[in-house]
Symmetry: C2
Subunit: 505 residues, 2 copies
C-alpha cells in the first residue's frame, strides 16, 4: 500500500504529523493542502486554528495556539503556549483497568535463578559495588586485571563490572533526599544479574559507610574490602583480585534454567525522542509490554517529567486509591524538586526533540507514556525502589536517560528496552539495552546500533502488533542469552549516573 502523507492519531485531533518532509502545496488529506514546507514528523493543521484555540493531538490539548494557523499550516514549538499541568490531587483511579491483555506467544525464558529467589538474572556478571568515588581509580585498575587475568578462567561468567558512581562522600548524607542515592546503591548491589554475590570496595573514612548499604549479615571480610586497611596500592589490588576470584568461582557454577515470565523484570525507557516515537517505537514497546505483563512478567516504565502532563491517564489505570495517591505524590515531589532549582517540567524538552517535531512537554509526554501499553499499573515506586508486585509498574525517575538507567537498574531490571527517534548509543554495563528506533531512516543510518526498527509502522509496512511481537521475541532471546543487542556487543556502557537530589558539601 502507498505510504500515507500524514498520521492522525485520534479523530478529534486538529493536527497530524507528516511522515516525511512535505513541500508546500501538497494535498496531505482531503481538503488539507500544506501552506508551507513542513519538516518530517512536524505537525500540520487539519483545520484553521485561531489564536488561543486548543491544539489537539492524541485527543489531548498540547497547548494553545499563540497565533492564527491556517488549514495546512505548520505548528511548531514557537506557536504553542503550554497548558497548566493536570491537578494530580483530583485524579480518577480504576476506570481504565484492562483485563484482556493480548496473549503472549511464549511464556518462558532461560534465566539464572538467584539464591534469594525473586527476579532472575539474564547475565552472569561480577558486580563490584563501591561506597565512594574515591576508590574508583584503584578499582578500575584492578578490574582491568580481573578481566585480563581471571575472567578467561571462568567461561560461564559474562563480565566483571566496577560499579563506580559519583556518590559516597562530600555529600549531605543526612539530607532528606539522600535516601534516594543510598537506596539506589543498596538495591543495585543486589541486582539479579549479579547472582547474589556481594563484593564491596570502600575507602574507610567516607560518609556512605558500608553499614549504610550492607546488612550485618553481608558485612563480613568475605564481602568487604576497606582500602585504608591495606598496606599500599599493590596490596589493595591483590586483595580485590583475591576476593574477585572467590566470587567468580561461585558465579561460574551458575547455569541457565527454563523459567516462567513471572521471574523476568525489564525496564522501558525512551530518549532522543521525536514525533514518531509516540506513533511507532513507543506503542510497539507498549504492545510488547502488554504481552509480557499478560504472561506474568514485570515491566517498569519511568520518567516523571515525561508523564506529568498525561498522568491522569495513568491514574485511571491504577487499581485503587493508595496506588493513585503514590503516583500523585511522585509528581508533587518532582514538581517541588524542579521548583527549588527555579524551573518546571518544560525544562525537559531538548533541541533534538523540537527538531524532531515535538513542540512541547505535553506532546512529548503523550508519546512517552505510549510505551506503557494498556495494562493496569499495579505499583508506583520512588526512584531506586524494588518492586514487590508483578505486572506493569510505574518507577518514578528523572527522564534523563543516563539517570533513569541506573534508577531502573537499582529497581532490578534485567534488561532495558530503549526507544529512540534521533538516535543515541546509550548502554548499561550491568544489563543489556535493546534499541528500538521510531523511523526507518534511523535504522538505515545506524544499522549497527539499532536492534529493532519500528519505522515500518509509520510507512504502513507493519502494524504496532507486528513490531511489538518482534520486540517481544527479541527481548526473550536477549534475556535467554541467545541474542545480544548491539550496545552489548560493542560494549557501549555509560557511566553509572546515580540520582542524587540532595546537595553536595
Amino acid at each position: 500500500m502507498a505510504a500515507p502523507y500524514i498520521i492522525q492519531i485520534k479523530p478529534e485531533d486538529n493536527v497530524a504529523i507528516t511522515v516525511a518532509a512535505t513541500p508546500a502545496g501538497t494535498q496531505v488529506a482531503p481538503g488539507v493542502v500544506t501552506a508551507c514546507e513542513i519538516p518530517q514528523a512536524h505537525k500540520v493543521a487539519l483545520k484553521p486554528i485561531g489564536k488561543g484555540e486548543a491544539v489537539v493531538r492524541y485527543g489531548v490539548v498540547l497547548g494553545y495556539a499563540n497565533t492564527d494557523v491556517p488549514c495546512g499550516g505548520w505548528i511548531n514549538e514557537h506557536m504553542l503556549d503550554l497548558p497548566t499541568p493536570p491537578d494530580v490531587m483530583a485524579m480518577q483511579y480504576g476506570d481504565d483497568i484492562r483485563t484482556d491483555l493480548p496473549k503472549a506467544p511464549r511464556t518462558t525464558f532461560e534465566g539464572y535463578e538467584n539464591p534469594n529467589g525473586g527476579y532472575a538474572g539474564i547475565r552472569n556478571i561480577l558486580g563490584i559495588m563501591t561506597t565512594v568515588q574515591c576508590v574508583a581509580g584503584v578499582l578500575s585498575v584492578a578490574v582491568e586485571r580481573i578481566r585480563r587475568e581471571l575472567l578467561p578462567k571462568y567461561p560461564n561468567v559474562d563480565d566483571v563490572v566496577a560499579l563506580n558512581h559519583p556518590y559516597g562522600c562530600g555529600v549531605a548524607i543526612d539530607a532528606p533526599d539522600a535516601v534516594v542515592p543510598i537506596r539506589s546503591l543498596k538495591n543495585l548491589m543486589h541486582h539479579p544479574n549479579f547472582g547474589g554475590e556481594i563484593m564491596v570496595v570502600s575507602l574507610g573514612c567516607e560518609k556512605l559507610a558500608p553499614e549504610r548499604i550492607m546488612t550485618p549479615q553481608e558485612l563480613t571480610p568475605e564481602n568487604l574490602i576497606v582500602l585504608q586497611d591495606y598496606n599500599g596500592f599493590g596490596a589493595m589490588v591483590e586483595a580485590i583480585l583475591k576476593m574477585a576470584q572467590t566470587k567468580l568461582e561461585r558465579l561460574n557454577r551458575r547455569r541457565r534454567v527454563t523459567l516462567p515470565l513471572s521471574r523476568l523484570c525489564i525496564g522501558m525507557q525512551c530518549g532522543g525522542s521525536d514525533a514518531f516515537s509516540g506513533l511507532t517505537a513507543n506503542p510497539s514497546a507498549g504492545y510488547a509490554s502488554d504481552l509480557l505483563v499478560g504472561a506474568g512478567a514485570t515491566v517498569l516504565f519511568s520518567e516523571v517529567t515525561e508523564v506529568r502532563d498525561g498522568v491522569y491517564l495513568l491514574a485511571r489505570r491504577t487499581p485503587d486509591a493508595p496506588t493513585c495517591k503514590r503516583l500523585a505524590q511522585e509528581m508533587v515531589w518532582y514538581d517541588d524538586y524542579l521548583a527549588k532549582g527555579g524551573v518546571d517540567r518544560s525544562a525537559n524538552t531538548t533541541p533534538g526533540n523540537k527538531k524532531g517535531g515535538l513542540s512541547n512537554i505535553v506532546e512529548k509526554a503523550m508519546g512517552s507514556i505510549a510505551k506503557s501499553g494498556t495494562a493496569p499499573i499495579v505499583q508506583v515506586l520512588s526512584p531506586g525502589e524494588v518492586p514487590t508486585r508483578s505486572g506493569l509498574i510505574y518507577a518514578a525517575t528523572p527522564a534523563s536517560d543516563i539517570v533513569c538507567g541506573p534508577c531502573q537498574l537499582a529497581s532490578g531490571i534485567a534488561l532495558q528496552v530503549f526507544m529512540t527517534g534521533r538516535g543515541t548509543p546509550y548502554g548499561l554495563a550491568a544489563a543489556p539495552v535493546i534499541k528500538v528506533c521510531s523511523r526507518t531512516d534511523m535504522k538505515e543510518k545506524w544499522p549497527d546500533l539499532i536492534d529493532i526498527n519500528a519505522g515500518t509502522i509509520a510507512t504502513g509496512d507493519a502494524t504496532i502488533e507486528q513490531v511489538g511481537t518482534e520486540l517481544f521475541h527479541f527481548i526473550l532471546d536477549v534475556a535467554s542469552g541467545v541474542k545480544q543487542p548491539w550496545s552489548e556487543k560493542w560494549r557501549l556502557f555509560n557511566d553509572l549516573c546515580i540520582f542524587n537530589p540532595a546537595p553536595i558539601t
Copy 2:
C-alpha cells in the same frame, strides 16, 4: 629531640591534640594528666572547661562544651555545640596583607607553552571533550583504540583522555545555576595540559549543544564530531580516530621550554582530613604556596564549607572591598544552596574526620585554610571560572574531593597538591595529583601512594618550612616532567564529577 605528647597551636588555646594514642594517667604537659585514654589526634583539655564554655583551638572558638570537661579530659565531637557561622556581610578586608613572602629557591620550571599564551601546560595530553554523557560509550571504545593504535606513534604525547562527565542532557539547561557546569566544561576544554587543541564529541540532539561551549571560530568540522551525522558505530569510531590523529600530530610537536613561575597555576586541596592535617600537611602546603606565590605563580585553594567558619580570616587577606564582597557572595551562595537541600555546613564532616579527631566543621575549616599559607588573596572565583590575576586565589568549589578536582581543573590548574590524613587514592587524568600526608604512619602504610610525608612535623623531626620546601621542589619537578607522583604512575584516575547545582529533568 623527644617527640612531644601533645601539640598546642596558640597560647590562648584551652585544648591541644595528642601526637599518638595516649593512655589515661599520662602527664602530657605540666599539670595536665590525661583523665582517660585519648585516641591519636584527638583533643585533650588543658584546663577545666565548664559546660557552655568555649573550646578554643587555633585561637578560635571551635564550639561550646555541652558538658563539664576536667583538665586532661577528652573532647570529642559529641561534646561540642556548633557556634553560629561568621557574619560574612561585616567582614574586614585588607588588614592582614603580607608582603614579605619567603623567597623561593627556584624561579623557573620546564613547561609547555600554549598557542593562546596564559598558563603553561605541564603534561602533553589529547583531551577529548564531550557535550553529553550519551556519547561516553562510543568515545571510551575509541579512546582505547587511540591509546593502543595511535599513541605509540607520538612519543611526545603523554596520554589521551576522554572527558566523560554526567552533564549535557536531561538537565535543566536554562536553570539559573546551570551556568556552573556549562562554564566548567567550556573552560576545561581549554585546559593548559591539552595544548590548545580542541576536539569535541557530541551526539547531535543534546541540550548542551556544541555552540554552548565552543566559539564560532572553534565550531568547525576539524574540531567537532557529531555522532548522529555518521553512518553507524563503526563510522563514528573511525571519525574519532581520524580527528585524534590530526590532533596528536600537532601535540607531538610540542616541546618543554624553561618558563618563569608566573606561567604556572596549581591547585591545593585536602581530603580525608584528620586533626593533624591542620598542623602538618596543610601548613607545609601553605608554606609551599607562599614560596610559589612569592615567585609569581598562581595557587588556587577552594572548598567553601571548609573555609566558611574561618572566612573572616581570609577576608582580612583580601586587598579591597570588591574582592572581599565576592568572597562573601560565594559563602552566601553556598549557604543558600545547602539550605535548599535542608542542610547546612555541618553536613561536611565525615566519619573519618571525626575518628581522626576533627570534632566539627569549625575545627576542620581552621585546618583546611592552613593550606592557603599567608599570601594576600588577590581574586575570588566562582566554581569553574578561570583566573585573570596571578597570585593566591580563592576558587569557590564544593569541598567534595571529586567535585573540587574538576572545578579546579576547569579553572586551569596544571597539577593539584592533595593533603590527606586518613588517606585516599584520589587522582585526576588531566593533571597530576601530588599526595601529602599528615602523619608518618600514613606514609608507612601507603608508601606507594603518598608522595610527601608531613608527619615529621608532628614528631619534631622536621619543620613546616622544611617540608614545605621539599614539597615546593617536588611540585616543580612534577611540573617539569622530571618526576611523577604515585597516582599518575599507577594511573589512578577518578571520574570527572562536574558540579551541577541545578536540577536534572
